[in-house]
């Protein structure tokens, strides 16, 4: 008889669908990058890694990806904290409790498309500026997508993350009984500013730190948004790895796998930190 909680069955499925693909995929990427497998590879070599690190491309890519994740998360956390502290109960009921979920219905590719239509030279913002007399022709409007300051990418990433952090902080506000702490602080003579900066924000940030790290990891792996709204150089890690692996130059493939290994290693370290920071069992 089929037993849904049979230990051997459970372990086999877990191995087959999660652990095996992970080990097999990363194992193949590592082996390819060291020349152990692959069409043009002839045995163990460090040459592919040396070539990769001989140019600044991969360093810049890691820094650039980290910067994008950091910038969009910082803006998102700032807005979410401000909104939740200003309207702590607004997202529990009423129209905003529904509206806040809207960005969650957006796949990254759709959000990227919308922000392209909104921020580009001929986009909605440019048209609005023209109608208001701020600009007189398309070229007067600054580049906000595929731009040097990555405004398009950061705006899109912020938009996509905003509901998660607003809901997270709104629920933490209730769970951590921040209102009680605030009342106590006022009773002890603290000002509103002191209550916000010395009590509310530190508690919310500390409790949300593992979630922030996990979200940072997700942002590091972002692909569609930088692909559509980013410049051709620098590239994010995902875009760089896929370009090296999908293009027709076979000599680039080992380096593409090396980039994938670097990324996986980075994720592993960050995930380890997130688990260390989390005192509780880790859950979504």
């Amino acid at each position: 008889m089929f037993k849904p909680f049979n230990k051997t069955f459970n372990f086999s499925i877990l191995l087959l669908f999660t652990l095996l693909p992970l080990l097999a995929g990363l194992g193949y990427a590592i082996a390819y990058s060291f020349g152990l497998v692959g069409v043009l590879n002839k045995g163990f070599t460090l040459e592919n890694w040396k070539i990769l690190f001989s140019t600044s491309e991969v360093y810049i890519s890691v820094l650039y990806t980290s910067w994008l994740a950091f910038a969009s998360l910082s803006i998102c956390i700032f807005i979410s904290l401000a909104v939740v502290l200003a309207f702590p109960t607004k997202f529990k009921s009423g129209i905003f409790s529904y509206l806040v979920y809207m960005p969650l219905a957006f796949p990254s590719i759709v959000a990227a498309f919308f922000f392209f239509q909104f921020l580009s030279n001929a986009g909605i913002l440019a048209r609005l500026c023209y109608q208001l007399g701020i600009i007189s022709q398309i070229s007067d409007f600054p580049n906000l997508v595929n731009d040097s300051y990555h405004i398009g990418i950061i705006s899109t990433q912020t938009f996509l993350s905003l509901p998660f952090f607003i809901l997270l902080y709104a629920s933490l506000y209730q769970a951590e009984k921040l209102e009680d702490y605030q009342k106590l602080a006022y009773a002890l003579g603290a000002s509103k500013k002191q209550t916000i900066f010395k009590i509310s924000i530190p508690i919310l940030l500390k409790r949300s730190l593992p979630s922030i790290i996990i979200y940072f990891i997700f942002k590091l792996g972002s692909y569609e948004v930088p692909l559509l709204l980013g410049k051709s150089s620098p590239e994010t890690i995902s875009v760089l790895a896929v370009r090296k692996l999908q293009k027709f130059n076979l000599l680039d493939i080992p380096q593409g796998y090396a980039v994938a290994v670097i990324y996986a290693f980075l994720v592993l370290i960050l995930l380890f930190i997130a688990f260390k920071k989390s005192k509780h069992q880790y859950e979504v």
Partner: protein, 257 residues
Amino acid sequence: MKYSIKHLILLMLALVFTLPIVILFLLSFSQKWVFPKLLPEKLTLENWIIILGDGHVISNSFVISLSIALFVAASATILGFILSRYIAYHPKRRLLTFLTYFPFALSPVIFAICLKYYFIKLGLIGNLYGIVLAQLIIALPYSIIFFLSFWNQKVLDYQNLVYTLGGKQKQAFLYITLPLAKSFLIICFFQCFLISWFEYGLTSIIGYGKISTLTIHVFQFINEANIFYAALSCCLLILPPVILLWFNKRFIIQQKG
């Protein structure tokens, strides 16, 4: 003064949340939008009629995406529910959770390029089975992690009570565990559906351009600069999640809390 600033902030927030959907729908009903016109000039149902017509690639890809997402969501939810129990009460729970988290945290597109070799060897590149399997590999870890919070001491105590009172494993599962897990199962199904429904990078690599899901079509239309069809495809992508989000809002709030 303070009151009006708060209202202004709320109004801006409402705009941020709703404007994208309004704009995308407006564009999907349009065929002409020349600079500097603020709104599309010609609003018509023509795009929707053409694209949703019988046999059109978009309507076909909508059905393909929906079928993949439903299958992946159902499989990931059922397997995740079973496997999460195994991990939750395992002596090495933390290690197994960490190992489950790792594939979920990896970028799907990078995971896909690492797995591509095996998919080619197994004949799973460029077909529906390959896409379903690849999406299941990223949705299942999510499902397992999601259900870990369900398997707490309270659930275990209830099950033990059934055994103490002479109940069997099947009865404990059917009459105690499943009813307790009902809202978790619904939310997990919905979240896994979204993971599959939103997927682009992994699908493009494993699908090899032969299986056209909606996200693949959106990308194609964007590349062709066909903004009206791209907007329409975007609307089709957004509609099911919006409906589901609206429907499940209460459950999601409970879960996040």
